[in-house]
């Protein structure tokens, strides 16, 4: 069980703890502190996946978020996750990783035939090829492309993990714990500011962990540790590792993704897997560092080719060699540090430097250590299919576009460095227009847009001294403005190596007659020739080139490809990069799980559940519930093996014949008080309200300003200046806002106050011919006769010692009452009603029976008041006063509202008196007419009329009542039904309304 590429000593991993895992079924081991990538490389495994389009073999390229290739399907802790970045995912015991986008295996992938057909897959291939014939798209092209392209497979199992959201506020958010981030956080913390320091990686310190530097005579790593330890001990500082700030939104809101427990072997049931932080920061320090840029050359995607800094990180952090015969290909000094690190570990590197022979501190050191340096050299093409075996290298002529000499040398890895690109994603997301910095050939943040301050490498400062200085200064100044305290900090002494100038060289030329693929964007398989084609075909805007070639898209977001792509476009177009511009950086910076976005809002926690005080009784009595907004309402009370249809018929019939009770707590209730309350209601409702006496209720209709019905309900005058308004369950919140709008903005002179009392009252309706008898038993001391408590009457009385309100109102069309008691007494009231009602045949009824009762009475509800109907459409024009003004009145005169043929409410019965008419059916003259069949109306509500024992529906139909007596078809293509119907009055039962007044 030896690991051939593991160094003996180096690294920050815990060699005392072995961790076993599998890769493509093979049993392997690594150490605690390894990533999947470092453990695989230690085991000599480089081929991990196939590329997106051409299915070319791919290995690791980076050592962190910059990795474009190594995305694996990973199974651990009982779940399977696609597209996991192998360079970021920490190794845990029992983890199992498999390659994606390959079949049957990563070693032998049939899709790789695309690689040999690549002349057929240029940029824009999909756009050009799959355009015709149109009918082929769904059945042939799309499934084929889906199978061939694409990454991992999303699990279809329920995600059992816990995810959390957290809202946080701070003075200063620092994103990244490299030298500049640590310095900023430290200075701000010393000023007493509330600081959050976020680090994406498990270890704090950023480049301090890998660079050969010293600060105040401590190694970079030790200094970072010292600062972090001190920050952790301060109560005003929150320090978070494994936390990626991935989005910068409006008003200084940043969102952070914390990987809480994937790296833990054991965790408590309540530990979330991941946590999403919404952070509102007064100031932000963007110390996100920089990402190394590759140089483009032939077959530069072959496994075994790494970014040079990644190779160094594997040695210094993980104690792993990416190869034993390395070629270092660079245009700058930083790669020399990688070479020196190889040398330190007894590996002999060869450096190919595109610059002409010159001298610098690092070059001199490399020379003195006897490293083979070849100036004016570069890699032309890497050889080897599944792993680099050798490289064709060339000595460049002075023009850097042709070769003086070409030779092939053996190597097992190529470490490439094309200088550094500041990570400006967050700054750009904040709205910062970036500017091009000639000195480093990259974009850096320009003038502040929000409260973002970029420091260190993210701002284009590539020396430690400068980064620390900027960090301390900005951290101190920004926080001092907030805390009004300034603690002096001495900037530490720094020892670092001085870098010479880099070479502006990004793409290796090709010798004549050679045409290997040269990739710019590895993740999206975009090569130099693809960009050339896009430009040749006339795409000029960089945003269009991006979309045509897919350069810089997907999870990668152009981390390693962006600037090389721009350089190429600018070279071909003979423009300079700032003229070409850059594409938009979009959040998230790195992929985050859907689970984290959703957080705890799943299942029962998706939204709050509102239960009435009688809910437990309903549950105990076999109620089947239905959602009414957030409310749970009994739909029907199941007896034995009853179906919904049977139960609702039984319940509704019992109301028509005996008496039933219904929980109506969910109706919206608004308490209205004030000396102008009557005037206010008079303006809000379409009908007259000035003369409603105390102790009486009235049905009211309210419109929107555009004349459309908004809501209906009864309002009762409790006392001189006190009213109790009811709204429909669905509109309760809207109506309250509506009333508040008019009281606060339009008519503030009215002395009226409104407040929601929906939750304060429990309500039960008692309906049916025997309801008065039942009521008299419930209130033995009260005169409940028709004279004493007439229709629309109101009384307050004690209900078995409990204060209650009695309203004689009816939704069912039967003689009915509604009793309200304080919510706490709701259950008491309900149980008492069930007990007392027994002798009258009382049964509870649910919303389904409630609907049946109102439909056959022709009472309108939500399906008719659907935001398209005015009062006369639903036969409520009797409620529209001609004498007074009210909200929406002026709109009712509009021409379209007054045409005779306007769709209005009617009733429908099937000719066969048997077939139920599906809600939503269209009413047509001829069921066999050619499509599009002219639609005359639609079926809004359907029920089984218990009174007449046949189906009955309400419909909104052209010409309304003029159609009564005529026959049509109600067709529902959805249910594949066509039913012949006859139009009748919408008032199917008791059209004169005698029962409610009896």
């Amino acid at each position: 069980m030896s690991q051939p590429f593991r160094l003996n000593k180096e690294g920050l991993i815990n060699r005392n703890k072995k961790i076993s895992f599998t890769f493509n079924g093979k049993k392997l081991f690594g150490y605690e502190g390894d990533t999947i990538a470092s453990a695989l490389i230690a085991n000599g495994i480089h081929l991990v996946g196939r590329s997106f389009k051409y299915h070319r073999p791919r290995g690791f390229f980076g050592a962190g978020v910059e990795e474009p290739n190594a995305k694996l399907q990973v199974e651990f802790n009982g779940h399977s996750e696609p597209n996991v970045n192998a360079t970021e995912m920490e190794l845990v015991e029992g983890l199992s990783a498999t390659s994606q986008n390959c079949w049957p295996s990563v070693n032998f992938d049939i899709g790789a035939i695309n690689n040999f057909l690549k002349m057929f897959f240029p940029a824009g291939f999909y756009y050009k090829t799959f355009m015709w014939p149109k009918s082929f798209w769904y059945k042939i092209y799309e499934p084929f492309i889906r199978k061939a392209a694409g990454l991992g497979v999303a699990s279809i199992e329920k995600d059992k993990e816990r995810y959390e959201h957290k809202f946080e506020y701070c003075d200063l958010l620092v994103t990244g714990s490299g030298p500049s981030g640590l310095a900023s956080a430290y200075a701000a913390a010393k000023n007493g500011a509330k600081v959050i320091l976020a680090e994406d990686k498990p270890r704090f310190g950023g480049t301090l962990l890998t660079d050969d530097v010293s600060i105040d005579n401590l190694s970079g790593k030790d200094w970072a540790e010292k600062i972090i330890t001190e920050l952790k001990s301060m109560p005003n500082v929150t320090v978070k590792n494994r936390s990626q700030v991935f989005g910068y939104y409006d008003h200084n809101m940043l969102v952070m993704f914390e990987r809480v427990s994937d790296h833990l072997e054991k965790k408590s049931k309540f530990t979330p897997r991941q946590r999403l932080w919404y952070i509102r920061a007064k100031e932000t320090i963007l110390s996100t560092g920089s990402i190394e840029r590759p140089i483009v050359f032939g077959n530069n995607d072959t496994p075994g080719i790494f970014l040079s800094a990644a190779a160094k990180e594997y040695m210094k952090v993980f104690g792993v060699l990416v190869g034993k015969k390395p070629l270092i290909f660079t245009n700058n000094d930083s790669a020399y540090e990688t070479a020196l690190e190889f040398k330190k570990n007894n590996v002999e590197p060869i450096i190919l430097d595109t610059r002409e022979e010159h001298s610098s501190e690092l070059i001199d050191e490399a020379k003195s250590k006897g490293i083979d340096i070849r100036f004016s050299h570069g890699v032309i093409v890497a050889n080897g299919y599944k792993k680099v075996k050798s490289a064709k290298i060339g000595k460049l002529n002075k023009d850097k576009n042709s070769f003086e000499k070409i030779e092939t040398i053996e190597c097992d890895c190529i470490c490439v460095s094309g200088f550094w690109t500041p990570s400006v994603h967050l700054a750009s997301q904040s709205g910062n227009k970036l500017k091009y910095e000639e000195k480093i050939d990259a974009f850096i943040p320009d003038k502040k847009k929000q409260h973002e301050t970029s420091v260190g490498a993210a701002n284009g400062s590539f020396t430690l001294e400068e980064s620390l200085k900027h960090g301390f200064e900005n951290g101190s100044n920004l926080s001092a403005k907030i805390t009004e305290t300034k603690t002096e900090i001495t900037i530490p002494n720094v020892n670092e190596k001085k870098y010479g100038a880099h070479d502006k060289f990004w793409c290796m030329p090709l010798p004549k007659n050679e045409n290997p693929k040269r990739f710019v964007d590895f993740q999206n398989d975009v090569s130099v020739s693809d960009i050339e084609i896009a430009l040749r075909e006339g795409y000029r805007s960089i945003e269009h080139v991006k979309r045509y070639t897919t350069l810089g898209m997907a999870t990668d977001q152009g981390r390693t490809s962006n600037l090389n792509g721009l350089q190429l476009v600018s070279n071909i177009e003979n423009k300079i990069v700032p003229e070409v511009g850059h594409t938009t950086f979009r959040p998230p910076f790195t992929p985050i799980t859907i689970g984290t976005i959703v957080g705890r809002e799943v299942g029962m926690e998706y939204m709050p559940t509102r239960k009435t005080p009688m809910h437990e009784w309903h549950e105990k009595n076999n109620a089947v519930f239905v959602d009414a907004g957030a409310w749970k309402r009994p739909r029907y009370y199941k007896q034995g093996n009853e179906t919904l249809f049977e139960a609702s018929k039984r319940e509704a019939k019992n109301v028509r014949e005996n008496v039933g009770i219904c929980d109506v707590t969910t109706l919206g209730k608004i308490d209205i008080k004030g000396s102008d309350a009557a005037e206010f209601l008079n303006r809000v409702y379409t009908n007259a309200w000035m003369k409603l006496p105390v102790g009486k209720a009235r049905y009211g209709l309210m419109l929107r300003e555009d004349g459309i019905v908004m809501d209906d309900g009864t309002t009762t005058r409790i006392s001189e200046n006190h009213y109790h308004m009811t709204t429909t369950t669905a509109q309760a919140a809207n109506v309250l806002s509506h009333l508040e709008y008019y009281l606060q903005i339009v008519w503030p002179e009215l002395n009226v106050n409104v407040v929601s009392t929906t939750e304060q009252w429990a309500g039960a309706a008692i309906a049916g011919p025997k309801s008065r008898d039942m009521l008299s038993k419930l209130y033995p001391d009260l005169d409940v006769s028709n004279d004493a408590l007439p229709f629309m009457g109101y009384r307050e009385a004690e209900f078995f010692g409990v204060p209650s309100r009695i309203f004689r109102i009816s939704f069912s069309g039967e003689l009915a009452y509604e009793i309200n008691v304080k919510s706490d007494h709701g259950m008491f009231m309900w149980e008492k009603m069930m007990e007392v009602g027994k002798e009258f045949g009382n049964q509870p009824y649910g919303t389904e029976a409630l609907s049946t009762l109102r439909i056959e009475m022709g009472h309108v509800a939500g399906p008719e008041l659907d935001g398209r109907t005015i009062p006369s459409d639903v036969s409520l024009n009797g409620l529209v006063s001609k004498k007074k003004d009210f909200i929406g009145k002026n709109s009712l005169g509009r021409k379209a509202f007054n045409v005779e043929s306007r769709q209005k409410i009617v009733g429908l019965i099937p000719i066969d008196r048997k077939s139920s008419i599906p809600e939503g059916s269209h009413i047509v003259q001829d069921q066999n007419a050619k499509l599009p069949n002219p639609k005359l109306g639609h079926v809004s509500s359907s029920c089984w009329s218990v009174e007449n024992n046949n189906p009955f529906s309400l419909a909104i139909m052209k010409d309304g009542k003029n159609m009564i007596g005529k026959k049509f078809f109600a067709v529902s293509p959805l249910k594949n039904k066509s039913i012949e119907v006859e139009v009748i009055s919408s008032h199917y039962v008791d059209p004169e309304g005698k029962r409610v007044r009896s």
């Binding site: 939104y249 409006d250 008003h251 303006r683 806002s737 508040e740 339009v746 002026n890």
Partner: protein, 89 residues
Amino acid sequence: MLYIKCPYCGLRAQKEFSYGGDATVKRPNINEEVSSEDWDNFVYMRKSPRGKHIELWQHIAGCRQWIKVQRDTATHEIFQTAKVTEEIR
């Protein structure tokens, strides 16, 4: 997510508010004659400016007050917030 300063409660997250449209629209007085053109303008016609816009928001999950917010519709910058009884310059 916007950060809106309620004149009654202070800075609160957008989640607590509900948008209410153009705050400069004035409803014709009740009980007064209004031409159908003026009425239609009030009900339907709204400007959709790019830039500064004075709009109504209601602090529904807070004090339930309707407030005025002057916001840039392109950048979301909020310049000023006020009670509905106050003027925004």
